[in-house]
């Protein structure tokens, strides 16, 4: 496909070289047609050929009323508040805009107007960019002209703002857009004395397409007023906007002292209300040559200014085209009046299509083109042959005149952070810049270098080695090439002169390429290696040698990775495996580690074996449990004792009792006992008694043991010397 396009361009180059476009206009087809929602796509019956010149524009009224549209009616430009999705004839452009197709080729946008040479052959189809089902009312009237002699190409921008705004620390945009009064695109008839219709009086339609706005001064204005706010107060030197021949104008009382400069390109600039002193000339007969930027007068308040007197001092600047090329600009007022800001709207410029009668002649308003040599950021998405200046977030693009050979659309979008290697990474996001012609063909190579500038004011370039900052480009988002880059650390910008698109990023070498390290710490009772009693608190502290840790992730028993923020507890018994790793702010990623361990469960309180030491006749308490048990004894009043047995898992047995020894008769009475948090149990009166049967005898002792409840003997055991100890288990 690309190969075919080059062949076609090659053919067209030689075709137009030997047969200039004007020669093509041997036969002109003019056809007026209508489109309506009932027939939203029609066959025009016009067959087109490569090299034809096609012009489609509104002709007569054109208004559709579509349910759901965001405005009260739509013209050929469609609904600016609705972008067509994939269900529309042509996605990505305004819903219900005028689209066209040549033969079986993909559709393209016509919008309010298209006027271009053709690179395709086939039947011309026109349509409303719609989706099904489609309903509405109204219609569009259009004129189609084929092989019509095209108008001359837009004039080359040649104007500078006519005062020294730079000397006042202002940028071009700062000065040019601080406008006191706009050019009224609906009826710029001020100099003609013609009246505009009542409905548009006291309103202005400015170059941005804001229609009949009553807040902008002032209706019918046919130029631009700049004053104090724009850095042009009283007595500010007025400079020639371009080189030419200047003459004084004295026949207009309202204009005051006026200088007119013929620039020799069929354009004349006019400067009104000047001070009577320091005028470049006062001759109304003989013009004097001036260079661009030469002083021609001073801002004043002569003629009709509002408010009157010094307070009303301002510069009225206007531009006139000698449309009939007769050397006389006066006979092209008002029809030759032009807005040097052009017309920056998808709607039809009302001034370019306004027909009227003046001085007995039929007149048509004028096309306006952007004629300042300095660009205003993002004035529109158009990238015309005149070039343009665009900003998008931290990216600036400046295309000089001649960058493209046809009118194109420029689109800038953000791209993800670019990672070229372990050490090369983009400073913030990258950008994707695309340029398409009217037929949707992408243009990636340019006739003139354009300037691409990254502003890294808000970026954390401390992460990067500053000497390595370089603009990289890529045509596919995968393969990246460094470009010759100029980095200015004062303005915090990086610039490159380029002749190609599409993806760009400011790339630097990271200072830190070492991955962080993460530990796992257990806070709990370690029973055995890898075994813990609940609860266990897990913490994952991490550190980074050169930078700082961005985040730590862990995955507990394959339940999914989650970010570690604070220590967490595990209490449920079972086997656990934790994987974990950290990533630093440079995206250096630690190799994942894994640790397995077990939390053991035990909810059973200890048991206690009570026996008596046969030598001392004191009770002995021996814990019985799967895990180690600790015992504490607390003395209570009246010979009572509280015994607490606690195992590793905090299970407890607590009992209180009284021990007595009298006449070789040892007794232990259990008063209460409690298992863990269960209710305290008060057992019935009981005595565990041990006595010597013949304590005074010199023969082998014989003793017995009794278990008495409520004074009733429950159990009695008599021991022989061979079994000196009796065990009794609670």
């Amino acid at each position: 496909m690309k190969q075919v396009s080059y062949q076609v361009l090659f053919f067209l180059f030689f075709f137009f070289l030997f047969f200039p476009p004007q020669i093509l206009a041997v036969e002109t087809t003019v056809k007026d047609m209508s489109l309506s929602p009932s027939a939203p796509y029609i066959d025009t019956g016009i067959d087109l050929f490569i090299g034809s010149y096609l012009d489609i524009k509104q002709w007569g009224s054109a208004a559709l009323y579509i349910p759901g549209m965001t405005q009260s009616w739509v013209g050929l430009a469609g609904d600016g508040g609705c972008t067509a999705d994939i269900n529309y004839t042509l996605p990505g452009v305004n819903c219900w805009s005028l689209v066209a197709r040549i033969g079986a080729n993909p559709p393209f946008l016509v919008g309010s107007r298209i006027a271009t040479y053709l690179l395709q052959s086939g039947r011309l189809y026109l349509g409303i960019n719609h989706k099904l089902p489609f309903s509405g009312t109204g219609y569009w009237n259009m004129r189609i002209i084929v092989n019509w002699t095209p108008p001359p190409p837009p004039p080359t921008p040649f104007l500078k703002l006519p005062w020294d705004y730079l000397g006042q620390g202002l940028s071009f945009s700062d000065a040019a857009l601080k406008i006191n009064s706009y050019f009224d695109h609906e009826y710029p008839l001020l100099s003609s004395g013609l009246l505009e219709p009542v409905e548009s009086q006291e309103t202005v339609t400015n170059y941005r397409g804001e229609f009949r706005n009553p807040k902008y001064p002032y209706s019918s204005h046919d130029g631009y007023d700049w004053g104090r706010l724009a850095g042009a107060p009283l007595d500010t030197p007025v400079l020639a906007a371009a080189a030419g021949c200047a003459i004084y104008k004295s026949d207009c009382t309202a204009c005051g002292n006026a200088i007119l400069i013929n620039h020799g390109n069929y354009y004349q600039t006019r400067y009104y209300h000047l001070q009577p002193t320091d005028l470049i000339t006062t001759s109304t007969i003989q013009c004097v040559d001036v260079t661009q930027g030469q002083m021609i007068g001073k801002v004043g308040f002569s003629g009709n200014v509002v408010p009157g007197g010094e307070a009303g001092a301002h510069l009225h600047f206007m531009l006139v085209e000698d449309k009939d090329r007769d050397g006389d600009f006066n006979d092209n007022i008002p029809d030759g009046l032009t807005d040097p800001f052009g017309w920056q709207s998808l709607a039809v410029d009302p001034w370019s299509t306004y027909s009227f009668t003046y001085a007995g002649e039929s007149k048509l308003g004028n096309d306006s083109h952007y004629l300042w040599t300095d660009a205003i950021p993002n004035l529109s998405q158009d990238l015309p042959t005149n070039g343009g200046f665009y900003t998008f977030q931290k990216l600036k693009l400046n295309f000089p005149e001649g960058s493209v050979a046809e009118k194109t659309k420029l689109l800038i979008t953000s791209a993800p952070i670019v990672v070229i290697s372990d050490v090369l990474q983009s400073v913030g996001t990258g950008f994707i810049v695309t340029v398409q012609n009217l037929f949707g063909t992408f243009i990636n190579q340019f006739n003139q270098d354009f300037t691409l500038t990254f502003d890294f004011t808000d970026e954390e370039i401390a992460r990067f080695k500053p000497e390595t900052l370089t603009i990289y480009s890529s045509s596919d988002g995968t393969n990246w090439q460094p470009e010759i880059t100029t980095v200015d650390f004062t303005t915090k910008t990086a610039s490159a002169e380029l002749d190609h698109l599409t993806q760009f990023a400011l790339v630097g070498e990271l200072k830190d390429t070492t991955a962080p390290q993460t530990q796992i710490l257990f806070n709990g009772t370690n029973i055995n290696p890898g075994q813990f009693a609940p609860p266990v608190e897990i913490s994952l502290p991490s550190s980074d040698i050169e930078g700082s840790v961005s985040y730590t992730l862990y995955n507990l028993n394959d339940s999914g990775w989650q970010q570690y923020l604070t220590p967490f507890q595990l209490a449920d018994p079972g086997e656990y495996t934790i994987q974990y790793y950290s990533v630093d702010i440079e995206e250096n990623t630690e190799t994942s580690k894994s640790v397995s361990f077990t939390i053991i469960s035990d909810t059973t309180p200890p048991e206690v074996d009570i026996s008596f030491d046969s030598q001392t006749l004191t009770p002995v308490f021996t814990a019985i449990d799967e895990n180690p048990v600790t015992e504490t004894v607390e003395a209570l009043p009246k010979n009572r004792e509280r015994h607490t047995f606690t195992d590793t898992f905090a299970n407890q047995l607590v009992f209180t009792g009284i021990y007595t020894l009298e006449d070789q008769i040892a007794q232990f009475r259990i008063e209460s006992l409690q298992y863990n948090t269960d209710p305290i149990i008060i057992p019935e009166a009981n005595i565990l008694e041990v006595r010597y049967l013949n304590p005074a005898s010199s023969v082998t002792n014989v003793f017995g043991q009794e278990w008495i409840i409520k004074d009733e003997l429950q159990l009695k055991l008599v021991y022989t010397p061979l079994t000196p100890v009796c065990n009794f288990v609670i």
Partner: protein
Amino acid sequence: MPAKVKKNTSSNQIPWYIYLVAATLLGGAVYVVLRPPTSSVLPTASPLNQLAPTTFRASSVMGGFTIEIPSGFQAEEKASLVSINSKNGSIKIGFVGTNYKTLTDHLSDPRNNIIKKLQNQEKLTINGLESINGFLSNEKNYFIYSNYAVYFIYTDSSQLYPDLDQIAQSFQIPEK
């Protein structure tokens, strides 16, 4: 494991009104914890937009003014016109230079005569700046004057009027 002594599981019956009192106290405690802050600590935000607004700073072309943008809106500046868009519509901020020293004088310029067209006018001072609001047909407008510049903040979408009020009230020009 030996048999344990039988546990005492019996308990006294709790009267129903004790549950009622406990539930009331619990509900009160939950309210105290979860209640929204009182109006005295709320920011001066539109009731439509309780979320924190973001600050938008215009370019030097428009004098570098700042406004607070309610959540749900996105602001964009292009060639000295700011569009603040939401799914419900758009609020715009334009500006012009003027040779008049007061807003009233500017709006009284006979070539536009806005002062005579502006319905339900209300004179205000917004962050120290002379201001007038009112309606041009169904379009609500705020005009704000600052050092030979007149800003106008406006929308014709009635449901955005509260947001318009909020944005206009936040309008400030940075000190040079």
